[in-house]
């Protein structure tokens, strides 16, 4: 299992360059807009964008890649034929996705500092980013196993990932929305990720309930990932 993890890190490192460059460009463009909006909003929005970036990158890195690998290239067969357990396979994929998500988050963070955002980044902050990556890499594995075409994979993103991007406390607080929306939004993992990151960044410390919810999602989705890999045969 350790071998597998190391292996993934090594082999996927070459592929990190692409998203990294893309994110630098994306970050610069986005950064300029934020500056126009004023300093306070910048410090509000950066934790949300970090949560969002961690989610998108981790999910896409695992979900889209693995779906194509399973259905089109069939490279997943190579792993299914190999004498490794489903848990080792999912660990490798989730960690590989999380590495990308973390790098993504760090790039956004670096850019935010360049634009003058004052954020309190500590170990808790990084832990929450990591948890977010684990959650959405896990979701990526589940989606890649359950969804049976590339088109439906795009639909999955549109119906699940895209709404979360906008609604889960990333760009605004959902307090102003009707109550039903508020309830649904409070169940979603990304809401807790952006709340946590914002609280830590502004020096208010962690929210234990949100941390527990995120960790719970991470464990649940990992287990679901292992179960779906087992039944994909």
């Amino acid at each position: 299992m350790v071998v597998l993890r190391r292996n993934f890190g090594k082999f996927f490192s070459s592929r990190l360059v692409g998203p990294l460059l893309y994110l630098v460009a994306f970050g610069w463009g986005l950064g300029r807009n934020i500056q126009i909006n004023g300093g306070n909003y910048l410090e509000f929005i950066v934790p949300g964008i970090i949560a969002l970036g961690a989610m998108n990158t981790s999910f896409n890195a695992v979900g889209v890649n693995l779906n194509i690998s399973r259905l089109y290239y069939k490279t997943m067969d190579e792993y299914l034929i190999a004498p490794i357990s489903a848990a080792a396979f999912v660990s490798g994929k989730v960690l590989a996705g999380s590495v990308r998500g973390l790098i993504d988050a760090l790039v956004i963070l670096a850019l935010a500092f360049l634009f003058g955002a004052r954020l309190a980044v500590n170990g808790w902050f990084l832990l929450v980013v990591l948890l977010t990556c684990l959650v959405f890499s896990g979701l990526g594995v589940v989606a890649a196993m359950v969804v049976n075409s590339h088109e439906d994979m795009a639909n999955f993103s549109t119906f699940v990932i895209l709404p979360m991007s906008f609604l889960c406390g990333t760009f605004f607080l959902p307090d102003s929305l009707p109550k039903v929306f508020g309830l649904i939004i409070n169940v979603l993992p990304l809401t807790h990720a952006s709340y946590l990151l914002r609280a830590i960044a502004s020096g208010h410390g962690i929210i234990p309930l949100s941390l527990a919810v995120l960790a719970g999602y991470a464990l649940l989705l990992f287990a679901a990932g292992v179960a779906t890999v087992r039944t994909v045969r």
């Binding site: 592929r15 190579e78 034929i81 004498p83 045969r233």
Partner: protein, 292 residues
């Protein structure tokens, strides 16, 4: 030096398949297959597309779960402790599933790591195998840039990395040009002469005839004939008289040339007299051609 370590000693059948079944909804892809594969032979599953060959292949290589029946490889069931069986079989799937973004060497490296081979042993084995499949000069080229035949040879090398005791090949020459196909045949024969048991599927008649010691003909998920190519041909008659009748040809089979000639002489149509092949066996057994 024996290139392929004899993983399993002993005699008897290396694969035992009993009443193996796979249902997809109401469709039965494999319908109660019984089959035994001997040690050291090249065995070919022959049949048209959709006959159930690949489903059988996927069940034996543990990529698909059987709906019923059982199969064992050297005594290990394919529904039991999968990790144990996976360690001792080599699999070359039909689909080119090399990692295109990795070099030839890295593809083998990855496979070695997945099988937890120690570093030194891994490097040595990669050098050996790249030379064996005549790709030593291309070790550092991306697999995505290889020709079809080279990709197939690399896939075979990959399947041999962990020194399996049996090699499974699904349509090993599908889509290859005649030259590349002969190279793969030579490679399979060479491996077999050095002790490797080979099970392959094919829908090419000539591949089954040229390469396989024994052939099982599949149709609609069932085994409809089993034997050496010579035995199978003997069963229908070794000489064929094909009466040409505007695309709807009639076939008559005879044990010897003389009877065939006699019949041909009495026929009102244009006729072709030739030796029987496995396609004739298939036609005789099913009333259809392999391509139909």
């Amino acid at each position: 030096m024996a290139f392929f370590r004899q993983v399993w000693g002993g005699d008897g059948q290396i694969i035992k398949i009993s009443q193996l079944t796979k249902d997809y909804g109401s469709i039965q892809a494999v319908a109660g297959l019984d089959l035994e594969i001997d040690r050291g032979e090249i065995f070919g599953l022959l049949g048209p597309n959709g006959a159930g060959k690949t489903t059988t292949f996927r069940m034996l290589t543990m990529l698909t779960k059987p709906s019923g029946g059982s199969a064992s490889i050297n005594g290990y069931g394919v529904t039991g402790d999968l990790l144990k069986v996976k360690k001792v079989i080599g699999v070359v799937p039909q689909h080119m599933n090399l990692d295109q973004e990795l070099t030839a060497r890295e593809n083998l490296e990855l496979h070695g790591r997945l099988h937890k081979m120690p570093g030194e042993q891994r490097r040595q084995r990669i050098d050996e195998l790249l030379a064996y499949v005549e790709l030593a000069g291309r070790a550092h080229d991306l697999a995505g840039k290889f020709s079809g035949g080279m990709k197939r040879r690399l896939m075979i090398a990959r399947a041999l990395m962990h020194r399996p005791g049996i090699l499974f090949l699904d349509e090993p020459t599908a889509g290859l040009d005649p030259q590349a196909r002969r190279n793969i045949w030579d490679l399979i024969r060479r491996m077999n002469s050095e002790g490797m048991t080979v099970l392959l599927t094919t829908h090419y008649i000539e591949e089954a005839e040229a390469l396989c010691h024994r052939v099982g003909i599949m149709d609609h998920g069932r085994l409809i004939a089993l034997g050496t190519p010579a035995e199978l041909k003997k069963k229908v008659g070794e000489v064929v008289v094909e009466a040409l009748n505007h695309g709807d040809n009639e076939y008559r089979f005879f044990a010897g040339r003389e009877q065939a000639l006699q019949y041909a002489g009495s026929s009102a149509n244009n006729v072709v007299i030739r030796e029987a092949n496995l396609e004739d066996v298939f036609v005789e057994l099913t009333g259809r051609k392999v391509g139909d």
